[in-house]
Symmetry: C2
Subunit: 379 residues, 2 copies
């Protein structure tokens, strides 16, 4: 028996009470029993998003929400700016290009955060840019981008939409949708919301809805206007992903009980403890600045394959973290502290890492990282 621990940046563990809520007999999505559940989940998402606008609920992975954020607000040939700092920034570019948008990219070195000045320069240079796309947390590098600063800046460019992929940041970072001027923010179920994959969430500002009126791109499945109309009557445009929405409602109840500030504080503390522990072991963080509260990307020691660390953690110790992606593959491995995570998940991850490093012949004193994490987590 090898007991399993999921410390990946999505999917994340689902609390047993949520799993069991989704194991109840199925109910019909147009029935009086379901409508109040969707209503409650809808209101809860507004609370989590810190927005007065509707948050659409889509039956798809987060990427579906990203695609809809492109196809509902633009026309082929429109110019947009993508902040590309990793695999998911690259995804924004690919989606925009797939739908015929002209993409100007700001390439940010992997492991670094965007300097808002670079965005300002780009927007001043080209007044035709209709939107700025970014990740809140770039999951592939473990970097958090300064969404507040970007929002403050983009607000000065009146016709420019600010579009944020918050799939892996939602619930882990304080993201003030309305206050910070985020026009479109995409979330996903299998991250901070502690649910299985299969739902995407998208908030849309009034400014963005205005752009929707002139957007002529073909769309049918991800038709945000229709979703908004349906949501007003507590329905979704097509068959609702009933079990996942029931789980969503339970997850939001749990988060509400904890309190929004406490949810953010928990993620922040666990991330801090993980980083400090990792450094005390003598490893380097891959995020050179502005590390994310969702996931910590860790550089493999010189001469050690990051994928080997990731695999040994999984195969010998039952800890499923994540490896590196694309150009970071082999150079890093990642441990998440996202969603349904407790103090001893952090300690478990660090303890296992110390043991793996020792086995791989690295100079590693067992317990040092654990002790550092304990110091931080005891408060």
């Amino acid at each position: 028996m090898l007991k399993q621990y999921l410390l990946a940046p999505g999917p994340t563990p689902v609390p047993p009470e949520i799993l069991l809520s989704m194991a109840m007999p199925i109910i019909h999505h147009r029935s009086p029993a379901f409508l109040p559940i969707l209503d409650s989940a809808k209101e809860g998402l507004k609370w989590l998003y810190q927005t007065k606008n509707d948050v659409l609920i889509l039956s798809s992975t987060g990427t579906g929400g990203m695609v809809g954020s492109v196809t509902n607000f633009f026309n082929s040939g429109d110019k947009v700016l993508v902040i590309n700092s990793g695999k998911f920034g690259e995804r924004w570019t690919k989606i925009c290009q797939a739908y015929g948008l002209k993409v100007a990219e700001i390439l940010v070195e992997w492991g670094y955060s965007i300097k808002p000045e670079r965005v300002e320069t780009a927007l001043r240079k080209d007044p035709d840019i209709k939107a700025v796309f970014v990740q809140a947390t770039e999951t592939s590098t473990g970097v958090y981008h300064d969404i507040e600063g970007l929002g403050r800046l983009i607000r000065n460019f009146r016709d420019t939409l600010f579009i944020v992929d918050a799939i892996s940041a939602l619930a882990a970072h304080d993201l003030r949708t309305d206050e910070w001027g985020i026009d479109i923010m995409v979330g996903g179920s299998q991250k901070g919301l502690m649910l299985p994959p299969g739902l995407a969430f998208v908030s849309v500002s009034e400014k963005a809805w205005k752009e929707n009126e002139t957007s002529k791109m073909p769309r049918f499945y991800f038709d945000f206007r229709k979703e908004r109309e349906c949501l007003a009557t507590n329905q979704t445009n097509f068959t609702s992903a009933i079990t996942l929405i029931i789980g969503l409602n339970e997850a939001i109840k749990m988060l509400r009980k904890e309190g929004l500030e406490n949810v953010f504080e928990r993620h922040s503390k666990f991330a801090h403890a993980t980083r400090e522990a990792v450094k005390s072991i003598g490893l380097r963080l891959y995020a050179k600045e502005s590390p994310s509260n969702s996931v910590t990307a860790i550089e493999a020691p010189d001469g050690v394959d990051g994928q080997l660390i990731y695999k040994t953690l999984r195969e010998k110790y039952g800890i499923t973290g994540a490896g590196g992606q694309d150009k970071a593959r082999g150079r890093i491995f990642r441990l998440a502290h996202l969603g349904y995570t407790g103090i001893f998940d952090v300690i478990t991850g660090i303890a296992a890492l110390e043991m793996v490093l020792k086995e791989l012949g690295q100079p590693s004193r067992l317990g040092v990282g654990v002790a550092r994490a304990q110091e931080i987590l005891i408060d």
Copy 2:
């Protein structure tokens, strides 16, 4: 306490063993624990579809599969033929039109089945027609279309794709994908497969893959070629809907144990018993020919609102069937016998219907329909 019974044509009841399989701790979709599950589900779908080709697994409702069946195989301006015999036939038209296809429609009166000759005439008249779209079961009317006959015919038109929405027919009707020349067949999870909503399935023939090579429509989320490549390594293009795929694997195991012929026979028998019972009560079927094995659409007696029957069944007796849609609203109500259904679900539905009719002042001898159903179901 009002005990609840779900007799809707989707969502359908999910067996407890499947619900519990989905309540197990979440595993990672790129982990060695998940890959054999997806492999097994993938092979199982081929078995259920009676095809040697891959059956793609998409994180969306069935409609997402329909949209992908349009956007992956055509170019804007292409001519297609839609057999529109109800609400879901109309959906094919809307999707095709949303993506700039030129749609020729054969309108079939609601409650009737397509005569293949009409398709032949249309195809002969316009050799540019690149595809024929149809529903296997038109859920809004309870009619099954002659997929075998249509396939035999369309096969003679070499370059024409035959595209079937089998969302509510899959597992309820013997649909021989390869033998009958079905190029693209769409399924959904919350019907005969006894799962919650959230998955779509699409089989694609080699002939259709060839069309894919020249199709230039923008796509990203429903990119069938990428899904096919991923499926070859037992993955999905984006994060898999892990719990639903685990449930899918369990559902297919159950169906395999029952045997494909027995699965079809069960649906056929329950549908037959429902229809005969309904007629013995003195009601008329809405399907004037070729009734579906998935759902029975029943005309409300003269002067009675079909929605009232549907609502009384639900509110007084806890039986959630379905009302009528669009032009059939008020005229009909529907009882399904789809997916995880037993003899006594059929009897429960009929017994409740008799009681509702009596309450609504209709001439109805209690037990007559039940007895007729019993006669059929006893064999």
